[in-house]
Symmetry: C2
Subunit: 577 residues, 2 copies
């Protein structure tokens, strides 16, 4: 952008667009509060000081201006919203830039899904810079829409769809020199490469770093986090519903304030209800300050530090020549977002986006959207007990965690069929391949949902996101799956043939077209519906969505059957005595 | 560079090249001292920790390792050495990367001169990343080899000769929208644009920033420096023989330690004798610590901060995946450089480069090198007094400064010729155009050198670097200029026809082929020679080299005659009464 036409405004010779007067703002360069007038023209901060005039005057007395927040690692799909609705929700909390990793849509719709996300992100109040998906498929034991290799990643960079490499989860592949993984690293060498390396320390961390990975959001202990920083990584402190590391890691910012220059606070998986409950990065800022981090140190981790890390030279501070992304807070105690400006335009106030977000262009989405998946009938779901006596493998859920145990139990046999067993809290589980439309399915059993009858199903199932269903009887399960197919993805609760509640997730089987508040209402209905079937786990869907995640041990069920990655891969349902 | 082959070394499975054991090193990420083993393979730090083996073991007990220093703003031409000899001198003081601005050679040899510098910089112990010359010519009142416009700058970026835009001195051109200047800014928009804006504050600073300029090394007061930082600039604290700002600006680093993340300490003009006297960035580090800046804060400004500013992601800290540029100091009190490693190779110890630097390829240099300049004879230098009585304009030097005054005095007329006047300390001054080989010359008078007889001449004369001479008699001046032409540039002291001392500067008329110590010896001889002629100014050559600098007021003499940029440009020698 040629800023030459803005010179006369910077020199105060002509009236600019907007002038923030009596503006006390956080200067992240000097780490001090400064009070001055801030002049904006054509979305750019063109002057700070006295003597500017403007068409619109905004008196900032009694408030605190800070740079627009930069969300350094998140997944839009986890909001269950399209980029448009997600942006509307996020901007109300002060986020004006985000670096989403489109890993989920890449699994269900391939690179065209990623391009769709980018197209959907134009002209929004939040600038989305996408990471190229680095790990699709997550393992050979599940079926994504397509495998994404280095050459596709290169194209995503070249056509401007992606700006950096998304979280490199395949740390064994990096450390031990897997060719495909290194091809991806090498095509990303002049980009920022973001990481994911829980518990990788010592020599393996050094090897992982040789891959060019420069950040990590999976450090859960102070020791691991500090080691990552010491070895040159940018630490991403994550605070989301499923990974709350802020209180554990914040003391590092107190003990070593300088690491704020190498530290980014992120939301990762942003669930709508969690956002409504405590905000987004504004919530992180508040929580960091509450536990004793200095306000400037805390603020740097969601503004200047992510800007520096992601090489976004036009933002992160309030200064001339930077884009006018400005958040008005009440103060550093409440960190309440009063108003938000994106490129000088008021985009949010009173906790809501100012402009109605236009409808998504999701019908363009290729891949899954066009495919009709044939789901199994109740007859097809039946499992005939083998002639010979055998035990069955069952997924043993651990309360609130995504790690599971392998249970080997006596089957519950009725009329020659292996059935769920309410008495022992064992439900039946089905995964139906949907990304390639084959309808192939696998059946297993899972313990721990507390379900007494009926079934629930969803199309969000990490990482390949096939149709996944748990239930007590085959009729309910077949009905839930059929409804899921009819909706082209979503969440369904069924009791027999009756659909008790449902939410359509037509965009890649992952995202709704609803805005955040309607979505939260839907989640309440769904929770009430499965609650009426006996399941009291408030996060039952989220927990089920991780029961196909083959990269986390022990037993999981994917479209290819039972998988235990820690024990050689595919596992049988029946265990011969 | 594909680092995959280094994995086995990082994992400790094979012996690496070099292991620094018991290494106490400055960790700039955490701002603390850390003690560990540092393993290097193929010039890259591949591991930090225990349990590595190596072919070469370096016991670092009792020393302090820091990252190789990064010189954020310098002019190689000011060292009077070629890049090869300059690198040999600089590396002994711990500098392993430098960002030279080849402004001087660009004036005398054009873009091919810049390309020559880059070619001369291959395989040296210091990585030189050149700025593209942004201001050639410095003004319309002097004659460089060629004008360098935006399209040439673009080519210098495209062919890899330059990495950033050199100091944008034309701040009025930036602030007030000069088209040529903005063309240069706009072709540099995705690069780092370095600045030069002394005393530009307030609205004009805001306008200057819109040009995309992000640093400045010309801030001389705390207030101006702090304003630059506040408005988002990287402050370059300069400490060189002609601009010593360190003590003035260092208090900012004490009062606001966080600005170290936006602050770079630089040497700018590096004179050989100044280097021999107090070192280079090692001297800056020592001086910063002496005045009370914390060692880590000080160190950051010559390592990580310049690496971040110049987007050199592979250096600036001691960490895996970074190049093994390592300086061994005795401690933070003396900051004595004991040894230096570049990409893992020992390149300096005991204050000297380890390897003999190979001879320069300067014969390749186009432009001036091939041209023979006809210099004026003593007869041609004569100035006939006009028929009508008139006063003459004389350059009034201010002690040790580059700013001058315009003096209007009675001429000293002998035998109908206007002559120098020893009694009033007025010498004659001549500038001969050499860059385009025209030999056109201009004559004036200058007060303040203390010269009693003879003449001295040099081919270093900012910014166009034409042949410049001061003297008492025309014979001495003609002899000095003729010798300068014979040598294709240099420094000459003459008494009548006798050459008392000389130094050849054949490379662009700016650089010698001698290494630093021989050069310092030559300077002593030259100083003794002009001292014998009555001039006691230890910096007489340097001072003369600024007497053609047309961008600094008041009166200067260029090949086009007297110039006063603050008063409309060209000025006459004779002033009618």
């Amino acid at each position: 952008m040629n800023l030459k036409p803005l010179l006369k405004y910077a020199l105060g010779r002509e009236k600019c667009d907007t002038l923030f007067t009596n503006a006390t703002f956080a200067n992240l360069c000097t780490m001090e509060l400064e009070t001055a007038d801030i002049a904006v023209k054509d979305g750019v901060i063109i002057g700070i000081g006295e003597g500017y005039e403007a068409g619109e005057i905004i008196d900032c007395t009694g408030t605190l201006l800070v740079p627009g927040f930069i969300e350094g690692h998140t997944h839009i799909e986890s909001t269950y919203m399209t980029p448009r609705n997600a942006a509307a929700a996020m901007v109300a909390y002060g986020t004006t830039t985000a670096m989403p990793d489109p890993h989920e849509i890449a699994n269900t719709c391939g690179v065209e899904g990623v391009r769709f996300m980018k197209r959907e992100s134009e002209n929004l109040p939040v600038d989305f810079y996408y990471g190229a998906p680095s790990c699709v498929p997550a393992s050979p034991f599940e079926t994504p829409f397509q495998e994404i290799r280095a050459d596709e990643i290169k194209k995503l960079f070249e056509d401007g769809t992606c700006s950096h490499l998304g979280e490199m989860m395949n740390f064994p592949g990096v450390c031990f020199g897997d060719d495909d993984t290194w091809d991806k690293l090498n095509v990303s060498r002049d980009k920022v490469i973001t990481g994911h390396s829980p518990r990788v320390v010592g020599k393996e961390l050094c090897a992982y770093l040789l891959g060019g990975v420069t950040s990590d959001h999976e450090r859960e202990t102070k020791e691991e986090a500090f080691e990552a920083i010491r070895r040159g990584m940018f630490l991403m402190i994550r605070q989301c519903a499923t990974g709350r590391n802020l209180k554990t890691l914040a003391p590092l910012l107190i003990e070593h304030p300088w690491i704020a220059a190498r530290c980014i606070t992120v939301s990762d998986d942003l669930f709508p209800e969690f956002m409504r409950e405590r905000g987004e990065l504004d919530g992180c800022l508040r929580e960091l300050i509450e536990v004793g981090v200095s306000p400037f140190t805390a603020l740097r981790t969601i503004t200047l530090s992510p800007a520096e890390y992601f090489r976004l030279y036009d933002r992160g501070i309030i200064a001339p020549c930077k884009i006018a992304d400005i958040v008005m807070l009440d103060n550093f105690r409440n960190c309440k977002v009063l108003k938000v400006w994106k490129r000088g335009k008021l985009v949010a106030e009173n906790g809501a986006a100012v402009e109605k977000i236009t409808r998504s262009i999701f019908s363009e989405l290729p891949g899954f959207m066009g495919k009709d998946v044939k789901t199994p009938t109740s007859e097809e779901l039946r499992i005939v007990a083998p002639d010979k006596s055998a035990k069955i493998n069952v997924i043993g859920m651990t309360n609130g965690q995504i790690i599971t145990k392998t249970l080997c139990v006596e089957p519950n046999i009725k009329e020659g069929l292996v059935c769920a067993d309410v008495r022992r809290d064992i439900a039946k589980m089905v995964v139906v391949e949907k990304n390639r439309g084959t309808g192939k399915f696998s059946v297993g059993f899972i313990k721990g949902f507390g379900l007494k009858r009926g079934a629930f199903a969803l199309s969000v199932a990490h990482d390949a996101h096939n149709f996944t269903c748990v239930g007590i009887d085959d009729e309910s399960m077949a009905a839930a799956l059929a409804e899921l197919a009819r909706m082209h993805g979503g969440i369904v609760v069924a009791d027999g043939e009756k659909i008790l509640a449902s939410l359509e997730l037509p965009v890649g089987g992952l995202m709704s077209l609803l805005p955040i508040d309607e979505l939260c209402k839907k989640f309440s209905e769904l929770r009430a519906a499965y609650g009426s079937l006996g399941c009291e786990n408030g996060f039952a869907f989220m927990q089920l969505s991780f029961m196909s995640l083959s990269v986390i041990p022990e037993l999981k069920l994917t479209d290819k059957g039972y998988v235990d990655i820690s024990d050689g891969g595919i596992k049988p349902l029946f265990v011969a005595r």
